[in-house]
């Protein structure tokens, strides 16, 4: 278990300072696939480097299984990193790269060799063991970097956008391979990405970061279905934002009145919900298109876009604003609607999410 408590990192002593991490607190469980997701420059790498020991936080604590990590130099932390640039040693072979950590730990040669062979098999690189790292492809380098970091059996593996340099197909393969490795080794993975889809498909839990702070932590479904705030809803997937008035809150259920005057029940934010104007997030595929009568919202169909797997409907709502719906396509069936039609938009009770302001 990694406990990160109130970690702040301010760069630049003299002159202008920059807060790369702002009071970040998170607990990562054993054997968890934990993802840090956020836009470029939000501090993901900085947080990994704090855990690995290459950056000293300005304040805060980092503990692994109760042991204070900040007291230890990088080479004493039972944490290994898969660097974004791989950082393979160019003067060593694939096998020597993988064995490096164990060699530094002064393990007996026989054990090093056995583990290296295991790792080579695990990442399917046995035939390449004797190659120089400059003589293998990008995807293979990535697997070597992974094997090198896994070989010493760290308690925690840090992965800094390890798949970002790969092409689409290889990336999909490696995503599956990473998941397999994680479940086979039982090591805690802390994975950095700015690709929301990658985060959703691979993670047990996701922390969404923005400008140095964690905005929301939760399972992929939690984050997707119930984003806590506008930034999270916007960053992950597509979302419709609706102005509404919060009438009352009962546990997780909130009663809201939409701009159209219709009332419905949606999900309340985790805390701090107050009656009054709020913003509501509704995913495009969670809403249904119907007739204007009796719908929650009504408007004019402005655009229909066919996407193969699904069709997007853009609705200009009465009283301003627009709403996008997404419907799965069936073979050889048209929606039966055309632009200019008057339509209604509805979503089931409990589907919308009131955002924290």
């Amino acid at each position: 278990m990694i406990e990160i408590g109130g970690v702040t990192k301010v760069y630049g002593g003299r002159g202008p300072t920059f807060t790369a991490l702002d009071n970040v607190s998170v607990t990562i469980r054993d054997n968890e696939f934990f993802t840090l997701l956020g836009p470029s420059g939000c501090g993901k790498t900085t947080l990994l480097r704090v855990i690995a020991g290459f950056v000293d936080p300005t304040s805060g604590t980092v503990a692994l299984d109760g042991q204070d990590l900040l007291q230890l130099p990088p080479y004493k932390r039972p944490v290994n990193t898969v660097f974004q640039s791989y950082a393979l040693f160019p003067h060593m072979t694939v096998a020597e790269n993988i064995g490096f950590g164990l060699k530094m730990l002064d393990r007996p040669a026989a054990e090093v060799k056995r583990t290296v062979d295991e790792m080579l098999a695990l990442v399917r690189m046995t035939e390449m063991a004797g190659r120089k790292t400059s003589e293998i492809s990008g995807g293979q380098q990535q697997r070597v970097a992974l094997a090198r970091a896994l070989a010493p059996r760290p308690k925690v593996l840090l992965l800094d956008e390890p798949l970002s340099a790969l092409d689409f197909k290889l990336r999909k393969e490696m995503q599956i391979e990473l998941k397999r490795l994680q479940s086979e080794t039982g090591i805690t993975f802390i994975f950095v990405t700015h690709d929301q889809e990658e985060a959703l498909t691979m993670s047990d839990r996701i922390a969404v970061m923005r400008a140095g702070s964690i905005r929301q932590i939760g399972g992929p479904r939690d984050i997707y279905d119930h984003p806590a705030e506008r930034f999270v809803a916007d960053f992950i997937g597509d979302t419709n934002f609706l102005d509404a008035t919060l009438l009352s809150v009962d546990g997780t259920a909130a009663r809201v009145k939409l701009a159209s005057g219709a009332e419905t029940t949606v999900r309340a934010p985790a805390e701090g919900a107050k009656a009054g104007p709020v913003t509501l997030a509704v995913r495009p595929e969670h809403a249904t298109l119907g007739n204007a009568d009796g719908a929650l919202l009504a408007g004019k169909l402005a655009n229909i876009i066919y996407f193969g797997t699904d069709t997007h409907f853009h609705v200009d709502l009465d009283g301003g604003g627009s709403f996008v719906l997404r419907q799965q396509n069936q073979p050889d069936q048209k929606s039966g609607r055309s632009t200019g039609d008057r339509v209604g938009v509805s979503f089931p009770a409990g589907v919308g999410q009131v955002l924290r302001d």
């Binding site: 690995a52 080479y75 660097f83 730990l105």
Partner: protein
Amino acid sequence: MAKPFDIRRQTGFNAIAMACFVLLYLPIILLVIYSFNAGSSIAIWEGFSWRWYVSAWQNDQVQSATVRSLVLASCAAIFSTACAVPAALATTRQGSFKGHTFVFALINQPLMVPEIVTAVALLIVFAAVKVATGYTGFGYLILAHTAFCLPFAYMPIRARLQGMNLSLEQAGADLYGTPWRVFRHVTLPQLWPGILAGAMLAFVTSLDDVVITEFVKSAGQDTLPTYMLGQMRRVVTPEVNAISSALLAISVVMVMAFFFLSKTRK
């Protein structure tokens, strides 16, 4: 599309380039040609012969000066490189510390201060030390050469370190390598070309030096260049050409090796 500024199109460029080329290389070519002169003039060609090479080879003074020069250059190269490696590490790997620029300037001082000033300064200091200790040996020359060769050894090593990916060393530390072992197993193997290049540059610089050697040396400590300078004051024979040509050959081999090493293993 025409380039905004193409130096090759400027009037007179070719003429200037040719002139520079001729001025640089014609004398050297002549020097080498006349080292094979059968006669004893350095200006009148009298036919081909190895005579002056043989004569130089059999000259006791040349022999001892050659040995002295090579020993001196080797010592200077080894010691200055040994100092340059930690200096380069400190100036590239420690982040920017207070007085960083100052240290950099200090290391490169021999490049910026006129050599004659360094020579006189060393002469004065060593004279005082000589009086105090009575030691008049070879050590002064080694010390002086080590000092002024330092920037030549330092530059290629520093360049190599700057070109090296810092994340490799971090990866080493991440994989349980203590700072020393990371240096030994990650940094050093990649630094070798820079170290060799630095040592060779220092070697050639030391081999070539006249001014500082002339000031610092005690009696009977002639190196090849100072020996040749001494000869010039008397009768000039193509023997000097022969020695110069041999030195030239050594330098060319060294420089070629330097290029080769800095090109490969990138």
